[in-house]
Structure formats: structure tokens, C-alpha cells
């Protein structure tokens, strides 16, 4: 699945970031999005930021992901 999750960069050191989506925090890298800055909202796919995203779009996607998680009962969705 080519699903990408919007998250905010809350820590950034070189290309190593910590991102936050609705209170969930995890590590990600900004290697593929060199322009990303601390505080930016980005789309994360497979542990990498791939695009900047605006607040409105992020909210829509969080909603969709909540629905898909409900749809999907296998853990560790990703890939694609």
C-alpha cells in the first residue's frame, strides 16, 4: 500500500527527525525532502518524509487512515 501518513516534524537533526501524528511519535528521515524544516507537516511513507502537506489535507488523511485501520485487521500495514 502506498499509504502515506501526515505528521509534524517535532525534532530535527540533519536528516533525522521525530514526527508526531495525533500524539503518536516516531522516528523518520527527511533525506528525500531536504527542504523540510522543524514544525513542517509532511507525508511519511515507509519511514521517510516524501512531501510537504497542508493542515487541511493532513486532517482529511488522518480521518481516512482511522477508517482504513478499522477496515484492516492485519498489523503493520505499509509498503507499496
Amino acid at each position: 500500500m502506498c499509504l502515506a501518513v501526515p505528521a509534524r516534524i517535532v525534532e530535527l537533526e540533519e536528516d533525522r527527525a521525530v514526527v508526531d501524528a495525533l500524539g503518536n511519535r516516531w522516528k523518520a528521515k527527511t533525506t528525500l525532502l531536504p527542504e523540510a524544516k522543524l514544525g513542517d507537516l509532511v507525508l511519511i511513507h515507509a519511514g521517510f518524509a516524501i512531501s510537504l502537506v497542508d493542515e487541511e489535507e493532513a486532517k482529511k488523511t488522518w480521518q481516512l487512515i482511522a477508517e482504513i485501520s478499522e477496515f484492516d485487521d492485519t498489523p503493520n500495514k505499509l509498503s507499496g
Binding site: K29, T31, L32, G47, F48, E56, S79, G80
Partner: protein, 359 residues
Amino acid sequence: MLDRIKKAQEAMAAACESLGRQINIMEVCGTHTVSIFRNGIRSVLPLNLKLLSGPGCPVCVTDQGYIDAVLELADREDCLIATYGDMIRVPGKNDSLETKQAKANVKVVLSSEDALQLAKDNPDKTVVFVAVGFETTAPATAVAVKEAADESIDNFCILSGHKLVVPAMRALLSSKNNHIDAFLCPGHVSVIIGYGAFAEITRDFHRPCVVAGFEAVQIIEGLSEICRQLSTDAPELKSMYPAVVTEKGNVAAQKMIGECFEPVDGDWRGLGAIPNSTLKLRGKYDRFDAFKRFSIRPSASEERKGCRCGDVLCGLIDPPECQLFGRSCTPQDPIGPCMVSSEGACAAWFKYGQEKIRT
């Protein structure tokens, strides 16, 4: 919101009526497939508009020869297999990675970086990363390979099964028995490759290519735009997902793919060999290529008996037309990959099986 849906629906109905024939639109993105079912979008479409779920799920399009190669490596005592969770239940000749996982040499990872870390933490094993996915995922693999090279992490390698979407779309349209009128193009693949990458489909095959987001309203508006283009016989390339998809895409990610990989001919489930459709590591990264390191030659694809995932992926049949569907093949006990992956067409049809089969 409802106004937007109503407006798009009315425009779509008018366009389909004026066309007066069956229209087939293929989506090539598993997330679209799920969203279409989840939102009951098929039930609000004009009767002569049919949606086909194409090769949009990486697990589904990965050929059986690749799956069997992974399973063979999982039998080696000196290997650790690092895989995305999606791949774990795909059945091979005898078993799946899930059954091998009991032997503790199969690890589920969320990122290529996790696989690389696994190699650092287990210097006495060779970590093989099951590198599947489309252009969205390939750059992440490329970064890990480059890091492994820079840091000389020699017990890391990848089995590249990365695939490119546009060559598959070309192959589908080049097949004689296709009846695809247009594509609803994938959202997140397009974040990387840019919607401009689909220009060749519109140019060479005279088919509308519209990129849409994943919300119900975005999908309906995308379909409506396609119907409008078909009814005026003016196919174009259009992004209706401007918030994240640009014409050129993520250039840094494209460069990263180009740095590590080159496109070669590759096998797809159901579609067979497609020219320049699979990513292979470039010569300078040979030592990280698991195919070379273990002298693997993927065996000829051998589909499971009776499984029609290939026909489903080509849009030739709907899943319920397969004799295994819902009988011997279910999400709990899948036979084909389209039932394994929650974003596979068969799993989505199974989940929403009450829907009327439209032919």
C-alpha cells in the same frame, strides 16, 4: 461537501448517459480500492460505469517466483529476512513467511532503515530486505542501500522486487483484450513521480489520466472529470490532488531511485513480463544485490491452481467470478495475494461482498 458530491455525480450521470455504452475506469492504487469500497462509491455510479481494480497493490503484483525466492532464503540459517508486514502472509509453494516467522529468522520492519539497523545489530547474519513496492517505496530502499555502501555494512542486502506503475499501465493498454477507457491514477505514487509521468499514457493511448486524492468526494470528482473527458472525446492529463501532487513530483526521491536502480524487464503477476518495469540495483551496488549474492534465479511463476488473481489484476474479471473466491480463498485463509493484502481487490470484495456483481 454534499453539494460537491451531488454536482460531480450529476455531471457524471449526464456524461455517461450521453456516452450510451459501458465505460470502464481502472484505479491503480490499493488505497483507492479500499476507499471506493469503504465509502460505497460503486453504489452511486451510473449503471454503465464500471470500476476495475488494477495492479495497484504491490503485494498483489509481486510474482510467485519472487515470493518463492524469498521463502528459499528464509530457510537459510545464515540469513535474517526483513519484510514489510504486508508480504508476510503471501503463500508460496509450501508455506508463507508467516510460518517461517516461527523460526525467528523473519522480522517485520516498518522501514528500510529498520532493516539496516537489524544488520548492524546482527553482524553474524546476512539481513535480506524484501524490497517490494512502487515508486513511493523504492526511494526509501535506495537510501538504505546507499547508507550501507557508505558505512560498509556488508551483511545487508536487498531482494529488489520494486515495480514501476507507468510501464504496467502501458502493458495493460497494449493487451488486445483490454477494455480500459481511462485511469484513475494513484495518489501517493504520483507524489514521487509527478502527474507529468502519466502524460505518455494520454499521448500514446488517447486515454484520460486523472490523479485523485483518497476522500470519497475527491474520488467521485476524479471519476466525474474522467467521464466528462470521455464524453467530449478529449482525454487529458489532470491532477485533482494539487495539495500534494505536483507535475514534476519529488525530484530528490527520483534522483535517489536513479542513483541506485535501473529499470529492467520484470515479471508481474497476471501481466507477465513487462519491459523496463522492475528496478534492479545498479552495478556499483552489486554487492548489496541478494539475487547476485545468493545466485538466485527466480523460477518461472507458478500460480496456485484455480487462482485468478492475474485476471483480476488485469481487470478482466471481478473477484467473485473466481471459483475459489469466498470458498477456499478467504482473508483468513488466502490462496491468492489479492485476498492476502487488505488492499487487494479480492479482500475488498470479500469484506463488502453484499455488493451486487455488475457485469
